[in-house]
Assembly symmetry: C2
Homo-oligomer: 278 residues x 2
Amino acid sequence: MSGFEFDRALELRPGKAPGEMIGDVDDRWMIGKGVNGGLLMCLAAAALRSQVDRDGAHPDPLALSAYFVLPTSPGPISLTTTVLRAGRTMSTGQVVLSQPGPDDHPQERMRALATFGDLGDRMAPHVRSAPAPVIPPPEECVSRQAAPDFLQHSSLVSRMDLRLDPVSAGWLHGKPSGLGVLSGWVRFSDGREPDPMALLWALDALPPVAFDLGLYGWVPTLEFSAHLRGRPAPGWLQVQLRTENVIGGLMEEDARIWDSGGRLVALSRQLCGFRLPR
Amino acid sequence: MSGFEFDRALELRPGKAPGEMIGDVDDRWMIGKGVNGGLLMCLAAAALRSQVDRDGAHPDPLALSAYFVLPTSPGPISLTTTVLRAGRTMSTGQVVLSQPGPDDHPQERMRALATFGDLGDRMAPHVRSAPAPVIPPPEECVSRQAAPDFLQHSSLVSRMDLRLDPVSAGWLHGKPSGLGVLSGWVRFSDGREPDPMALLWALDALPPVAFDLGLYGWVPTLEFSAHLRGRPAPGWLQVQLRTENVIGGLMEEDARIWDSGGRLVALSRQLCGFRLPR
C-alpha cells in the first residue's frame, strides 16, 4: 500500500461482476459538493488499465473522454469496464462509474471511453511540440495561502501545492486579467512524483479558467477529453488553461501540461457550463 | 425523402432491438479504404437524436466524442443507442456502431458518447469567441481541380466544394507550408445548406492538417471530440485545422468552423496517428 494519498485514492479491488472494479472515494478530493472530475477520470483509467494491461504492454491512457452524467459523492463506487478492442499497440475500452442511487440501485455518474498504449514508445520521433509559456518560477508565483475562502473550502486544494503566475492570479482579489488564461505550477503536496495518471488528474486540478474572466460561478463539466503525450520527468508540472469561446452558457477549457524539463506531456479540452454574474 | 445526398446518407430506420437504428452506408463517403469518420459521427448523432429528441427539446448535439475501434466499410450498419440521462436542458447517451463481422456476428466499429440540447438557446450571452482568420474569399482560393490524384480517388471530396487558402495549399504540389495550419472554405456540392449536423461532418471533412507538414501518409483517428456551439447561417463554412504537437507517432488535429457571418459555430480536437516519410 502506497504512502501517497493519490495512490491510495486509486486503489481498487475486483467486484462481483465480470470486469467490475470497486473502491471508495473519500472526502479529500472535493470541489464544491462533488468529487473532483480529474480524480474520477483517474479511477476510470485505473479500472480499465486493470483489464487492458494484464501483460504490461498497454500501461498508459493515451486518450480518455469522460461524460459527466451526475455528480459523484464520497462513498463506495463501482467501475464496470468493457474492453472494445485489444490490439497490438493499443487497446480501447469503456468504463461506467456508478454509485448507489436513492433506491440503492446502481446509478450512473460518469461514463468514459479510453485508448491505452505505452507512452514509453511515444517519445520519438519528435516533429514539433508547443513550447512552455514563460512564467516566473514557482517560488515567485502566488500560492494558495493567498486564496479566498471559497477555494480554501475545497478539500482538493489541500492535495496539491499550486503556484499561480501572478498575471493569472488577479481574480484572487477580484481583479481578473480578462485574458482567459490561467498559468501556474502544480505538484502533489505529499511529494508524490508525477506519472501519466497524475497528468490526467492535473489536467482538471486547477481553478477554472472562467475565474480569469470574472465568471466565479459553478462551472459544471459536460465532457472532458484528455490526451497524454509523454511520461513526465520528476518535479513541478507547468499547466496552462485557456478559453476562447464563451457563448450561450457554454465554454471550452483547454489545458496543456509541460514537465519540469519543459516537454509537453498532456493536453485536454473540456466543455463546461458558465453563468454570468448577476 | 430529401433530395440532398447528405440527408439521404443519414436516413435510418428502427431496428429490431430496443434503441437500435439501422441503415446503409454507400460508397460516396470514402476516404482511403474506409468510410469518412465525420459521416459515421453524424450517423451516430442521428441515431441518438431519434431517442433523446422525441419532444423536439434536444435536437442538437452539443458535444460528441467518438472512439474508432475498426474501419467501417460501405454496407449495412446498426446503431445501438443507450440514453444515460434525459435532463431538462440536456440529454446524454451512447451509440455503438456495428457491422457484420467475418463470422456475420455484429462487430463494433465505432463507439460514441454525446450530449444533446438546443443550440437555439445557446446564442447568448456572448462573452467572447475566436475571430475567423482572414483568408481570401472562396473564389480566390484553390479548388479540388488542383488536387493530386490521391485526393481525386477519395469519393468524399466529390461530396463537397472545398476551397483551400493558397497559403495552405502548397502541399498540393509538394511544397507544404510547414506551419501546421490548413484553412479554407467548404460547402456541400449539391447546394445543401449547413446545419449543426453538417458542422459535425465538416469538422472532419478536410484533408488532414498533417499534409501541411509534409506528412502524406494515412492518419488514422483514434479519438474525435466535437463541440457544436451555434446554428450556422446559410452559405460557406470557413474551416481552420491546426496541429501543435506531433510526437511519437501521434498528433492532435484541432478544427474550428465559422459560418458565413463570421460566427464561431464548432470546435473539435482529434488524436490521430502519423508516420514519417521514409
